[in-house]
Amino acid sequence: MTILAFILAGTLAAATPLLLAALGELIAERAGVLNLGLEGMMALGAAVGFVVAYTTHSHVLGFAAASVAGIALSLVFATLALGFMANQVAAGLAIGVLGLGLSSLIGKPLESQTLDAPGKLAIPVLADLPVIGPLFEQDVVVYLTFGLAVVIWAVLNHSKLGLIIRAVGENPHAARAIGFRVLRIRLAAVAFGGAMAGMAGAYASTIYTPLWADGMIAGRGWIAVALVVFGTWAAGRIVFGALLFGALSLGGLIAQAAGVALPSQLLASLPYAVTIVMLAVISSNRRRMRLNTVASLGQPFAG
């Protein structure tokens, strides 16, 4: 494989955990709930997914366990933020710290252990195309994730369920007045976000870099939170953002291909710096932000 092919293929894989987590957060935020605990839920999912996949030799079980762990942690958040009407920012930070701590605790016995990554699945014909062929030789989770993005876009914009979720996020009082159980719908949205974040973590630890190292999520949960803002709460734009960050995280390889020698710390900082710049560029369009922001985002609702 040439270096270009390697970067093309790698971008999709690197974007996958970001996209999984961001799509889950998108649903929670469209329902009006800001869950800042993504980093912790991903870290917990990564540890649980790795331990289960390591002991059972099954990636499927690893992903299942990781999504259960993500849901469990998101339910702690939901209890505080929805049940007890606590400040959503503080509640998100709390489960973030808790998730990171549990992640190190659970992963500790398997520090530096490795797993076999599952094989790649080449799509016939497409994978043989020149230049862009490598894009179609990925593990199955990559295809599923990008497929899911399409499903989520369709559900949010073209289905009754999507309409209900959006109604609850835009105007919970009106939604309740016409008979929707606002808190139940929000609870389901938060739990979905937890499952997605857990699986995002499992993808990072069992497929993308199948090796357990404490702190391996390294800010990717926060980048996923930022992606939802960049995408101004639309699935399509979030996919675009995830691909951009997937490519950025391969910055080292790209720089090497271009023959530039830069300190590794500079390259490691690149995705974070770009996050800040993009955030400023996109948020500065205040009118567009006001049009797209979920109206009741972060506000507690007394059921």
């Binding site: 489960i95 190190s104 996050t275 955030l279």
Partner: protein, 356 residues
């Protein structure tokens, strides 16, 4: 059955103490179960975490040493949290403060001027404030969310620290360890209690706490900040701007964190090392909340959190707990605190007749 929460009209002083105490109790109980489930000696672990920090003069002095930076940073953060400005990047501001303060002894390792230490402290404070100012500027000018920006700036600050310690600032005689030269005496804070590592920075932290109390209680600026955060529209009518709240909150938060960073390198570390970033900036968020965002409450919660850090170190040795257990404990504390706060702020009404 239907449960509703009705907001209590008046809050008693009990809140300040009841919620953290309930949270501490529930956290202990949960950890006991968790440690037992992990096959660790749970009783021993809890003894190490909660009681051992207060046994013996040495342990107590170490608690005082850790309390300083936690208190300093939490006081700064609480100002912002009260105004609904969420600076969660104090860890990065601490790192940049430590870097700026270290620049002097790194470039003048033989320096003996009595001005060195004050200059380092000032550089640290300015550095921390400047790092936070990036977030304030972006929020005010470009509407960029300060939560995400301050966090990203922390991740970048960590990389800057690594770059300097592995490259230009690495001690040439340091056996290739990622650390700077050892600072000269002129760059070190005076020891407060002889025979311990406690330096005068803990007094500075107490002084800052007193100032924060006066500012919140008796100064108009504290009131403005509170209103700006709670009711931005009302604040605008009254002539206070949200932009001002953002600038003041982030600059003060960054200043305190930078100061704490400077005091770490000029205090217990005596050089710039990676371990300058041990999570004080994150823990201080929890300290600020547990203290009820109240300057006096924060003094108490900083002391408790410092004891937890020392207890965690002890538990690692005596009960074979990993470092991460402390973060689990901290996370549980905040979770239970936020939960119990609801029960104290609201009257719980049980309606057995069903939906009504």
């Amino acid at each position: 059955m239907k449960i509703t929460f009705e907001r209590r009209a008046a809050l008693s002083r009990r809140v300040l103490f009841a919620a953290p105490l309930i949270a501490l109790g529930l956290t202990m109980l949960t950890s006991l179960i968790l440690f037992a489930a992990l096959g660790k000696p749970a009783g021993q672990a809890l003894y190490s975490l909660l009681l051992e920090p207060f046994v013996g003069w040495y342990n107590i002095s170490e608690v005082l040493l850790k309390m300083g930076p936690l208190m300093l940073i939490a006081q700064g953060l609480a100002i912002g949290f009260r105004a609904n400005v969420f600076n969660i990047g104090a860890e990065g501001q601490l790192i940049i403060g430590a870097l700026c303060a270290s620049a002097l002894p790194v470039y003048f390792p033989e320096g003996s001027s009595p001005l060195m230490l004050p200059a380092m402290i000032a550089l640290g404070a300015v550095g921390g404030a400047a790092w936070a100012a990036i977030a304030a500027g972006l929020r005010v000018r470009f509407n960029a969310n300060e939560i995400l920006v301050t966090l990203m700036l922390t991740l970048i600050a960590t990389q800057v620290l690594n770059y300097l310690l592995l490259g230009p600032w690495k001690d040439p005689h340091g056996f290739n360890f990622p650390q700077s030269v050892i600072f000269p005496d002129a760059a070190l804070l005076p020891i407060l209690l002889s025979g311990t590592r406690v330096n005068i920075s803990v007094l500075a932290a107490l002084l800052v706490s007193a100032l924060a109390y006066v500012m919140m209680r008796h100064r108009f600026s504290g009131y403005q900040l509170l209103v700006g955060g709670l009711a931005p529209r009302a604040a605008r009518y009254a002539g206070f701007t949200e932009a001002r709240a953002v600038w003041v909150s982030l600059l003060l938060g960054g200043l305190m964190a930078g100061l704490a960073g400077a005091c770490e390198v000029a205090g217990p570390l005596g050089q710039l090392q990676r371990s300058v970033s041990t999570g004080y900036g994150y823990s201080a968020i929890i300290v600020a909340y547990l203290g009820g965002l109240n300057p006096l409450g924060i003094v108490v919660s900083a002391f408790l959190m410092a004891a937890l850090f020392i207890g965690g170190d002890n538990a690692m040795v005596s009960a074979d707990l990993p470092v991460a257990a402390v973060f689990v404990f901290q996370g549980l504390l905040l979770v239970f605190y936020l939960g119990s706060l609801t029960f104290i702020r609201h009257r719980v009404i049980l309606n057995w007749a069903g939906r009504a």
